[in-house]
Every structure is written in C-alpha cells, then in structure tokens.
C-alpha cells in the first residue's frame, strides 16, 4: 500500500518498525498514516452527522482525535505549508483518500509510490506525487472539521440539521466553485463520472471502513451496519442533487 517493500504496520505500531526500511522512509509513512487517520475521522464525523441519532460520546471522541491531529500537524509545520499552497483538485482527493486506508488488501506488485485509488482512479491524475497532493489537500479537510464541529452538536431542528450539513459539504466543495471555468472543466474532464455519485462513493467508503486494513487482520470480521448504510443512502440522495448542480456549472 505504501512504499513498495514497506511492511505495513498499524498506525500505533510505528515504533515497532523493524529495520526493513531505512529511517528516512519511516517519516513520510508516519505522515501518510496520520493523514489517513485524519481522513477516516472526518468521514466518520460526516457519517455521524448523517445518521438519525448520532452518538454524542463517539462524535466527541472522534472530533477530539481530529483536533489532536490538526494540532500536531500545526506544530510539525505541515499545516503551515498547506496554507500557502492552492488546494487544486485536492478537495476531491480529500473525500476519496479515505478509501486508501480502508481497503482490505493491497496488491504488493503495484510498484507505485502512490496508493491505488481503486474504482475512482481510472481517469484520475493519480500519477501525481502522492506527497504533494497530500499536503495540499489537508487545507480543505481542516476547514471542513471546524465547520463540522460547530454544526455537528446542534441538532435542534431537522431543517437546521440538513442546512448545517449542506453548509459543511459546501465547505468541501467550495474550492471547486472558486476555480476558473477552464480549470473546472479540465478538472472534471479527467474524472470518471461515477465519481460524482456521492452516494456510491461514500457508501462504498463506509463499507470499506468496516474492513480491517492491516495485513495481520485480514480475517477481521466486520460488524455489518446495513441499517446505517441505508440511512446514509437516503440522506445522500439529496446530496446527489447538489453535486449535479455543481458539475453543470
């Protein structure tokens, strides 16, 4: 999944990296894993928001994890680097990249430095160096959680609920709107149309998140959560509409 030959370890086992790789390779690996954790947490938060009765304790714990990662990235200086760069098509990457973390098995013969994007990568410019798109994409993701957090706890009315969620989603998509028409078209021309089916994308992600991704946990049995999947789908159908509007503009 990561650098070829790198024995993929679970995130917190990083101190166990057993010299199969040079110390230098360990550092981007940590950043990548941290980024993946951030993505996964954001998806979890978003999905929380969509479900009928989000568990407040779980949401608070995930939000705190996101905050912790952000703080560490700020201290690292990774966060500052992001601010100065344009996000490019990174915002779309943001939503997809959780897929990286959540796939259960990798083809080790991939050979690329870049993790496969799976079904979404067909026409995607996944040839870009992973690192740069990684760092760029963090910008929108960090903006998203701020909005998400503020909007997430308030569950007073369903209208507010939907409105808030649309706001947070708008945040994620706003970078698209800011693009000049030419670049937007360029952007979209290379992307597979199925990507815009937010429904399939996020539910695909959701089913992927259920599977253990670590090599050692291939037999991890996942709790199937079809009920929440269907809840997601019904809410996401609304979002299809939003995405279509953006595409047409």
């Amino acid at each position: 999944m990561f650098v070829r030959g790198l024995k993929r370890k679970c995130f917190d086992g990083e101190e166990d990296i057993e010299g199969t790789l040079a110390g230098i390779k360990a550092i981007p690996s940590y950043n990548l894993q941290r980024q993946s954790l951030l993505d996964m947490s954001l998806v979890k938060l978003q999905l929380c928001h969509m479900l009928v009765e989000p568990n407040l304790c779980r949401s608070v714990l995930i939000a705190n994890t996101v905050r912790q990662i952000q703080e560490e990235m700020t201290q690292d200086g990774t966060w500052q680097m992001i601010n100065t760069q344009s996000t490019g098509q990174a915002s779309l990457d943001r939503l997809v990249s959780t897929d990286i973390l959540c796939r259960s098995s990798r083809d080790p013969a991939e050979g690329k430095h870049v993790p496969g994007y799976g079904t979404f990568s067909k026409d995607f410019e996944s040839d870009q160096a992973q690192d740069s798109s990684e760092t760029m994409s963090t910008a929108s993701s960090v903006q998203a959680p701020r909005n998400l957090q503020s909007n997430m706890w308030e569950m007073e009315t369903p209208q507010e609920n939907k409105g808030n969620f649309q706001k947070s989603l708008d945040q994620i998509f706003e970078t698209l709107e800011n693009k000049s028409p030419n670049s937007v078209e360029d952007l979209f021309s290379e992307v597979d149309n199925s990507y815009y089916d937010l429904d399939t994308m996020l539910t695909g992600m959701m089913s992927n998140t259920k599977m253990g991704h670590c090599d050692s946990l291939e037999t991890f049995s996942s709790p199937t959560n079809t009920a929440s999947n269907s809840n997601c789908k019904s809410d996401l159908n609304d979002l299809d509409h939003i995405v279509e509007i953006l595409v047409e503009s």
Partner: protein
C-alpha cells in the same frame, strides 16, 4: 430473541432482569430447591416478560427514539411486590411486578364471566371469597419519568435512601424522587455555553451504596468526579477528582478514546470503586485521587490493533464491569464471547467463553487463552481469529453467591460455581 442490552440481579439475587433492544424486559426467578429435583436450585426460569418501552418519534427533531433498554435497576423489596426502574434513551419507568395466585369469586354485581347482573335479580348480599388460581405474574407501569433529558440516558442509580434516584445523560445528571414524575432536579450540567467547545461527555454515574449524599460520574476523558450533594445544589464543582496521569510512552492518537470510561461501579463496601475503559479495569480507593490502587489488563493484545478497531468502530464499544458479593473478585467482558474474572487478593485471572459449544448444562468451563506471540499452542486462539462481533458488554454477579449472568449478544448464560 433480541440483543440483550442490560442485565441486573435484584438485591437478594432471586430475580434476574434483562432488557433488550426491542424494549422488552424478561425477568428470571431462581428455582427453589425441592426434594424431587435436588439439583434444580440455582436454575433460573422465566418469571415475567413485558414490553417496557415502545419506539417513539420526536416530531420536533424528526428523530426516532429507540426503545432499547439501556439500564435496569431494582428497588429494594418492601412488600410482596417487586419494583424496578427501566430506561431507554429518554424515559425512565417504574414497574411493579406482582404475583397473583388467588382470585375472588361470588361478586354481587357481576357474574362469574364478568357480565353485569340484572339489579332485580340480586336478592341477597354475599361476601366474595378468595379461591386459589394458577400463579400469574403481572407487570404494571407505576410511574413514567419523562421529558427531562435532551441527550441519551446512559445511567440510572437508586439512592441508598430508597426514595430518590439519579439519571444521567451525556451532559446532565438529574435527581428524581420516586413518587414525583413531573419534576426532577438537575444536579450536574457540563454542557458548555457554546457547543463548539464540547470536549467531554458523561459516560456513567452511580450513587454511593451507603452515603445518600454522594455520587460519582465518569467522563469520556477517563476522569471520575465524586460529588457531595450537601455542598451545593448544583454539583458542577466536584468534591474529589480521580484521574491517573497519562503514561507518555504509550501515547498515541487513540489514547483519549481508550481512556474513555464505559462503566463505573462502587464496591459493596463503599470503600472502592471500579472503572472500565477500553483495555483495562481499574480499582480506585475513594481516599486516593491521583491513581488507581489496582489495574487489570483485560485484553492488552488489542493495543496494537487500535487502528483497525477504530476503523470498524469497535473501539467505541462500552463494556461493563461488576463486583462479586464480598468485593474480592471483579468481572468484565471482552470479544469472541470471552469474559474475564480477576481475583484481587491472589491476582489470579481467568478467561472463560460463553458459547453454546462450551456451555453444555453442568459442564465445567474450560479456561481460554489468547495467543499473543507468534507460536500458537494447542487450544489457544490467536488474536486474528477473534470474532469482534461477539462481544460481551453486560455481565452481572449474584449479590451473595457465586452465580454470574453473562449476556452474549442475544443469549443469556448463567454460570455457577461448582459445588462438590
């Protein structure tokens, strides 16, 4: 059968109540020893079944309110009837369970089949007599304590004064009087003025077993606060604050999540309390706030799997824990239908499995072992083979004997110490 969501013995241990995801309560009663069936003592059979909560719909928020029973707590028995409190996310109900083994016959105004008698046919008065009938156990709702919680109720606890009880949700704790349903008193409120600043929630709360002014509540940050209701009306200021300093060497992004306390239970003596977080159980001395006196690792082999457990949400599972009668042994659940008991004096611990294969009636449970190193011995099970869908979240220990109740998803297992 539905997924069991709570298990609780009553004060004598003769009754065992379970609540499930469908809002039902099933009460089991211990069989009395009889000459014809000398081994029957210790067996529990169904005593009463009733629907405690129904699914509701909150029209204002457009949200469904689950009927799942989160907690059941018995009241001490004061007359022939039994009383228990059961709660879902929003509403607490007081149920009366009573036996009826006689019925009255010979009414004046109605016939035996219930039809009203013609007044002109009543020529004399008679006194109705009581005749025996088959035992019937009735459950009737006596009080409904509603509309006091905005967030999901996670705990209820009956006070030692037997007149009041507390109910706790994610951000608030309310005090009720058992006789009063239209009013409750807020005693803890940790909701921030600005919800964006919310960082911590209440995860469990319990009254002290003997001091009716004292209660504790645990948080998602791994802290426990002990409050004294005599000090102020609103107990936002704690009297004692229990927190173990973090071990910097084991810090990870999951540290906070795994430190979140899922259950807190006072010992029967009232001297200690026990907390359960994701990987361990800790015993605290109420007189020492800076660290627990005992720590037991429940499934330390999961520490390297936290990333995956976060991914599939297992890291958010809320395990409960319980004390035995003399407070010498503690028990808690794990995955793969394993549950663990820890003897405090001898530091012996045992892992057992609650499954059909290993639990034939009267069979002795074989201790299980999880293999953590590469070389798996015979009869050991490797971490990768553990079934994370089979989780034992709810367990209960008989108040005075060595009988334990273990809920494994939708099955209830009862185990007893072998008497030679």
């Amino acid at each position: 059968a539905d997924i069991i969501s709570t298990v609780e013995f009553n004060y004598t241990g003769d009754l065992l109540a379970t609540g499930d995801k469908g809002g039902r309560v099933v009460i089991f009663q211990r069989e009395q020893e009889t000459k014809s069936r000398p081994l029957s003592r210790g067996e529990y059979n169904v005593y009463s079944t009733f629907q405690s909560h129904e699914p509701e719909f909150d029209y204002l928020k457009s949200l469904e309110i689950e009927e799942k029973i989160n907690k059941i707590r018995w009241l001490p028995q004061q007359n022939a009837a039994h009383f228990l409190l059961s709660t879902n996310d929003k509403t607490i109900k007081l149920w009366k369970i009573s036996e009826r083994d006689k019925r009255a016959e010979g009414y004046n105004l109605k016939d035996e089949d219930g039809r009203l008698r013609e007044p002109f046919r009543i020529t004399e008065l008679r006194v109705p007599t009581l005749k025996p009938m088959d035992l019937m156990v009735e459950a009737s709702p006596r009080r409904t304590f509603a509309n006091a919680h905005t967030y999901h109720i996670n705990s209820i606890s009956v006070n030692s004064d037997y007149a009041t009880y507390l109910s706790a949700d994610d951000l608030r704790i309310n005090l009720w009087h058992l006789e009063v349903t239209n009013r409750s008193f807020n005693i803890v409120d940790i909701k921030p003025a600005n919800m964006e600043e919310l960082m911590e929630v209440i995860t469990a709360a319990e009254f002290h077993p003997h001091q009716c002014n004292t209660f504790v509540y645990s948080s998602s940050k791994g802290t426990i606060r002990l409050c004294d209701m005599r000090s102020s009306a609103l107990c936002d200021q704690h009297s004692k604050f229990f927190e173990e300093p973090e071990d910097p060497s084991s810090r990870s992004f999951f540290s906070e999540i795994i430190s979140s306390i899922s259950d807190v239970k006072f010992s029967h003596s009232g001297r200690y309390m026990m907390t359960r977080d994701y990987l361990s159980v800790k015993v605290w001395d109420l007189n020492m706030e800076n660290r627990p006196v005992e720590t037991y690792q429940v499934h330390e082999y999961l520490r390297s799997k936290l990333c995956s457990l976060y991914e599939n949400d297992c890291i958010f599972d809320k395990f409960e824990c319980c004390w035995n009668g003399p407070d010498s042994t503690i028990m808690t659940g794990s995955y793969n239908n394993f549950f663990r008991t820890f003897e405090r004096n001898t530091h012996r611990d045992i892992t057992l499995e609650a499954s059909r294969e290993s639990s034939r009636p009267r069979a002795i449970l074989k201790p299980r072992k999880v293999c953590t190193t590469g070389k798996r011995k015979k009869d050991e099970i490797s971490v990768d083979s553990l079934d994370f869908n089979k989780k034992i979240l709810h367990t209960a220990w008989h108040p005075s004997e060595n009988i334990i109740a273990v809920a494994a998803t939708n099955n209830l297992y009862l185990f007893q110490e072998k008497i030679n």
